[in-house]
């Protein structure tokens, strides 16, 4: 029975799309129920897959129409769910479920909601399909549907010119990316006459890396770089994230760029299995480091809430790519853990942005201010997300970033190559800059003084807060129990990445695999110990202290009589303006971090010119990246 779960999970989402389209215009609540049912069942089905795949290490293979391979030659379309796919599948279904619940109330102000939900479900179904599929061309089709749905959702609010412009740019760059992937698929098919990933992996394992294979490999890497918004091709992402509704931006940063990263991992580790070459590792780590740095420095210069978050998504994807590029056990663990954490805290932050947009109508950092008093829960949740993304200890960001640092530095010790120390230093500095930009948002949006026009902003309805609470709780849990998360979720996925032979054996039959893998299927040993860092011990410490001091604070500090609340017109409680009458003056948005911007003036001006908004330059960047990757592959990868 478990063989059928993956295909049902995908079909349920697509079915949900069509049924909600059919029944949608009649009544709002019926459509919501259908959507809730569809996303709920797909989540449950994926969770049911958790036990067999993750615990018992079983890999599920499912042939469409039961076209099993004939005489060791795959002819049908296969679905293969190994630990890596299920890891990303879980991320996708959880994010989609929470995004659906959030958008029930969030989209209620917009018209044409039935169209929204159809495309929303298409996006969800296509990403889940992409993650579960074991067929090369099927991956291309799913990626294409994902890009399509993403463009549709970006242009959803078509009364605003920005969303149309963002959608058009995303479509142009996205279709170039898809065409590159398709071209790669075509060349691969011309070479191996089969489309099944497992079989291609097997054939590739023996075959010498001929130039044609390198050409296809370079095209695929270029295509997936566009999908994962890696730096040279990232310019379209901030426009799309900022223009799309927040529940969709949450999906964007949660699953769309994760799909790109999954494609990259599947390609580089399993199919082409070329990650033991130092030159390949250098390529990925180099791309990841640039993505990290440019993403966060651009975020510092933003003055729109969602654009800032979008640039952070790009920089966090840089983290994930750098960690995965190390291709050591520690690096992979750090990378996957950070991908999971990124989906959690970035989803939370985008939902907070949506909540701010829902109650105030604007996300411009220079106009907002002092919302903490009007929206206490959203402010609290935002703080959780901000601390999580900047890696403050009790939250999950700290654990995964810490793994990334240790991974990069251990890599530098192994290969005795100082370049990786430079990567560790850049990673740490980027983490501090992330903290800086979120301090900027906290001060500009939630604290400080409330402008006149937002006097009547009030807290968002409960149905929008529930997903935020769930995500915040997950952030905390993933931060406090890292060893549990690693053992159950990430260790199997890392082992799946490292053991490509296992992947082939399940799909194409055991004897076929042994014939191919003469030296036996190498199951790597998981030598990664948490380096003696027993998190639970010092977390208990932190907890005890917290309780001890919370008591002191609760008893009203040290002199209960003296905490005096703020009556409204008593001058005693006015903000100190060195004597002047306290008028509205809120330090926010662009007037923060003057020192930094002044010193890095040259850099910021150059970066501003690079993101100049002309589609042609974006397309040029994508094509030149692919060309450079191709050149690099031909010259250096031996």
């Amino acid at each position: 029975m478990t063989n059928h779960l993956p295909i049902i999970a995908i079909q349920v989402l697509f079915l949900g799309a069509f049924i909600s389209g059919l029944v949608g215009y009649k009544s709002n609540s019926l459509r919501k129920f259908v959507i809730f049912l569809a996303t709920g069942t797909s989540l449950v089905l994926t969770l049911m897959l958790f036990k067999p795949v993750m615990m018992e290490g079983q890999i599920i293979s499912y042939w469409m129409g039961n076209w099993v391979p004939v005489s060791d030659w795959a002819i049908g379309i296969g679905l293969e769910v190994d630990q890596l796919s299920l890891f990303f599948g879980l991320i996708v279904t959880v994010t989609v479920f929470l995004g659906a619940i959030y958008s029930f109330k969030y989209m209620s102000k917009d018209n044409g909601q039935d169209k929204y939900y159809v495309v929303f479900m298409m996006l969800a179904g296509s990403v889940l399909g992409f993650v579960f599929t074991g067929d090369l061309f099927n991956m291309y089709v799913m990626i294409e549907i994902m890009t399509f749905a993403a463009v549709g959702l970006t242009a959803f609010r078509n009364h605003k010119a920005e969303s149309i412009e963002a959608a058009f740019k995303y479509l142009v760059v996205g279709s170039i990316g898809s065409s590159l992937i398709l071209l790669g698929t075509v060349v691969m098919y011309a070479q191996f006459k089969t489309l099944n990933l497992a079989q291609i992996t097997a054939l590739l394992n023996n075959a010498q890396h001929t130039p044609v294979i390198l050409f296809a490999f370079a095209l695929m890497i270029g295509g997936y770089a566009v999908k994962a918004f890696i730096v040279p091709c990232h310019v379209v992402a901030p426009d799309a994230y900022a223009a799309a509704p927040s529940s969709v931006s949450m999906l964007f940063s949660g699953i769309v760029n994760k799909a790109g990263i999954y494609g990259m991992i599947r390609l580089v580790f399993v199919v082409f299995a070329s990650m033991n070459l130092p030159s390949m590792q250098f390529l990925l780590v180099f791309l990841g480091t640039i993505t990290m740095f440019i993403g966060v420095t651009m975020a510092l210069a933003q003055s729109d809430f969602k654009r800032l978050l979008a640039f952070h998504s790009i920089s966090q994807i840089g983290y994930v790519l750098t960690a995965i590029g190390l291709s050591t056990i520690l690096g992979l663990t750090g990378g996957l853990y950070h991908a999971l954490n990124h989906t959690l805290f970035k989803g939370l932050l985008f939902l907070c942005a949506g909540a701010v947009l829902y109650s105030t109508g604007t996300t411009d950092l220079n106009k907002l201010g002092g919302l903490a008093k009007k929206m206490p829960q959203t402010a609290g949740l935002f703080l959780v997300g901000a601390f999580a993304i900047s890696g403050i200890p009790p939250f999950n960001g700290f654990v995964s970033k810490w793994l990334v640092y240790q991974g990069t530095f251990a890599k530098s010790m192994e290969t005795n190559n100082p370049g990786y120390v430079f990567v560790t230093i850049v990673a740490l500095i980027v983490s501090v800059m992330t903290l800086a930009s979120f301090i900027k948002v906290t001060q500009s949006v939630f604290f400080g003084q409330l402008p006149k026009e937002f006097e009547n902003a009030e807290e968002v309805p409960l149905s929008m807060r529930i997903p935020m609470w769930i995500l915040a709780a997950l952030c905390l849990v993933a931060g406090i129990l890292p060893t549990a998360v690693i053992d159950y979720l990430i260790k199997p996925a890392v082992l799946a990445i490292k053991s490509a032979g296992n992947y082939v054996a399940v799909m194409m039959g055991q004897e076929y695999a042994t014939k191919i893998y003469t030296e036996g299927i190498a199951i790597p040993k998981y030598d990664y110990a948490m380096a003696g860092w027993n998190p639970t011990s010092w977390l208990i410490l932190f907890g005890v202290l917290l309780i001890a001091f919370a008591l002191v604070a609760l008893t009203g500090g040290f002199n209960p009589r003296h905490i005096v609340g703020a009556e409204n017109n008593n001058a005693k409680f006015d903000v100190f303006f060195s004597g002047e009458a306290a008028e509205h003056s809120h330090v926010a948005g662009n007037d923060l971090f003057w020192g930094l911007k002044h010193n890095l003036k040259g850099y910021f001006h150059f970066m501003h010119d690079v993101h100049n908004g002309v589609v042609n330059d974006y397309a040029l960047m994508v094509v030149s990246t692919t060309a450079l990757v191709m050149l690099y592959l031909f010259l250096l990868v031996k």
């Binding site: 100190f576 004597g579 002047e580």
Partner: protein
């Protein structure tokens, strides 16, 4: 026991906030000179605080000009209790040579009860130190009085 410790704390570390309501800066220089190495008020714990929220002793200098009246009242309100107001020099006491002028709004005690006054135009730093010592005693009585 804790109360006694806090009292000792208040006695040993009074922080000053200096408000200049239009003074000729004679008293201001004398006040700042109290913190220089020669007179070193810091050995008694005095320190100039930047904001009214951090202040215990508010030192006012200058006749209250009409411009600074409103700001003086607002800043005085923002100082947390227990607080002591000290007028330095004869201007706040009676706007000495400027009394009766159209732009001077009268002595300080029209706006708050002045606890300690230090006469002299400008008072000698030693006199200021005496005055501040007197202010600290009043601060202690105010604290105990609460």
């Amino acid at each position: 026991m804790f109360k006694k410790l806090i009292e000792k704390g208040i006695e040993k570390s009074p922080w000053l906030l200096h408000i200049n309501t239009g003074s000729c800066n004679g008293c201001d220089i004398e006040l700042v000179s109290v913190i220089t190495p020669r007179y070193d008020a810091e050995r008694m714990g005095f320190k100039l605080a930047g904001t009214p929220r951090h202040a215990d002793i508010v030192v006012v200098s200058g006749p209250i000009t009409s411009q600074s009246k409103e700001r003086l009242v607002r800043t005085l309100a923002q100082v947390p209790d227990p607080k002591v107001v000290v007028s330095i020099g004869s201007c706040p006491r009676s706007c000495n040579v400027f009394h009766g002028s159209y732009s001077v709004e009268g002595p300080l005690d029209r706006y708050c009860d002045v606890d300690v006054s230090i006469a002299g135009c400008p008072p000698k730093p030693e006199a200021i130190i005496d005055g501040l010592a007197k202010a600290v005693e009043i601060l202690k009585t105010k604290r105990r009085g609460k």
